[in-house]
Amino acid sequence: MKKAKSANTDENSGAFRRPPSDQSLAIPPHIHNLFDIPVDFCELLDQIAMGVVVLNLERKIVVMNQTLKALTGFSQKEFCGFTCTHILRSNICIQDCPVLRIDEKSGPKCIEGNLINTERQLIPIRITTAPLRNINHQIIGFLETIEDIRLLRELDETASHAYKFSKIVGRSPQMQKIFQSIPSLAQSDSSVLITGETGTGKDMVAETIHQASNRAKGPFAKINCGALPDTLLESELFGHQKGAFTGAVENKPGRIQLANNGTLYLTEIGDLPLPLQVKLLTFLDDKEVFPLGSIKGFSADVRIIAATHRNLEQMVRSGRFRKDLLFRLNVIRLHLPPLRERHGDVQLLLDHFLNTLSAQLGKKTLTLSPKALKILLTYKYPGNVRELKNIVEYAINICSDQQIRSKHLPSYLLNPEPFDMSEAAQQTNVPQAPLSDETGFIRVEPDRNWSDTEKRMIMEALIRAGGRKNKAAASLGWARSTLWRKMNQYGIR
């Protein structure tokens, strides 16, 4: 640029004279002495793949290249004579104009911000501003380059999820091993058996395998084998023919048929009754479904993913699960480790849930006090990730400060009972105990979310208060209107 003998520069005074707008269009600026013949400066700028703008000392636009015109949406004719603030429409120009910070000794300044183009899009940008000097080293204008960093921002977002696979978060070696195996598992059509304690993320892994597979465009049908009575479950799985039983007024396809060309996810497979185990086994062998009451079979191309928190081998030994079905399901076995064995993941998950749940609950991101963090890091989490999520959700709801302290954590964490490994592995159902004790501390069940906990809290307060809302609201520390609103929200009458 030093070789450029600009028509706009008064070299003796070092001042910059902007030509009238019509003149700048009629006689485009040229660079002399670079080649044998003058080079069109605008055309040179247009070859640059990032936005470039030349400003005079009054911050008015002298020339800008095609890339910047495309980025801002303004054309050559429009910008002449206006300051860059009105054309770039960047927050940087308004809040912290880099040109104003440049003096005789300054070098280039680089700032990240955003602009709004004529399409009304907010685009993240990086502006680098450098002074333009004449041959006497006096500043005669400024050169700004504007980079569209949308792609970089997207990559940053991906990088921040480096410890994530789909929705599963973890960086422990055990989880990394699972993340590595999922893509190859997804590509095969073999049955998968996912085992692991409750709250370890079996459902998420099953869905991730489906999403990463060639069947992703097909349906993902999920059925909980422990949630329905035997007859209903059979009808739900295999479908039924009109008139097969009382109330079967029309033909109904089963989940297997609905999952054709997709994946059927059988959760709590350990709770599948023995007669249905035989029927499922037949389907796995023949790939043909016989709806209830039908003699005609339908072929279904379905991949089976099953999951359970039970010890199927033990169930086979005690005669409660068919050995041959276990063999057919157990083609690929994926065991999800309990949270207490995932070293380093508790801290990562705490940060993850603090960020996501704070945003969901419309609160500022909270931090954990050292004492609260110590409690959370040493707790054994029998309910695994689900329990950890519920604890964080509880703490965010309870905490009204900037920092979550130990008093904001569920009281059972402060006096934890000795952890029984065998009990966790057995995963037996624990009868429900009252949520709050005499002292008024609220106890959160590991598998409950905040809404369930709050609903139960309200019910118990109402029972204790004999149905008197004023008294119940006072015992909860709420105003009567808050109790009324929450009762409406949860449909408590």
Partner: protein, 107 residues
């Protein structure tokens, strides 16, 4: 022209380059003649597009003249039946009262 209430976000006496970054606004109530229009400046506690939208609604503004505005806010205001003349640079008020102002005008 029937009596109308117009709001213009300002930045150093010009139409503010950004709707979301304006800290003061000019509210003009007039019935077609710029000379008889009643002008009022409102200084906002902080720059916020949400607060500005709230002000526009509570002040019963019929037309907003601005420069850069994010699509979400543009759509919200037009959904609220408020006319938004955006991407305007320069002295827009005179042109508006002449009935000639249109989006994208560089004056």
């Amino acid at each position: 022209m029937a009596s109308k209430k117009i709001l213009i976000p300002l930045h150093e006496n010009d139409v503010a380059p950004r709707f979301d970054l304006a800290t003061e606004v000019l509210i003009v109530a007039g019935n077609g003649k710029i000379g008889s229009a009643e002008k009022r400046m409102v200084v906002l506690p902080r720059a916020s597009a949400d607060q500005l939208c709230h002000l526009i609604i509570t002040e019963n503004i019929q037309t907003v003249i601005c420069s850069g505005i994010e699509d979400d806010y543009y759509q919200y205001l037009t959904w609220k039946r408020i006319e938004v003349i955006d991407s305007v640079v320069g002295s827009a008020l005179k042109r508006y009262f002449e009935g000639k102002l249109k989006p994208g005008d560089i004056l």
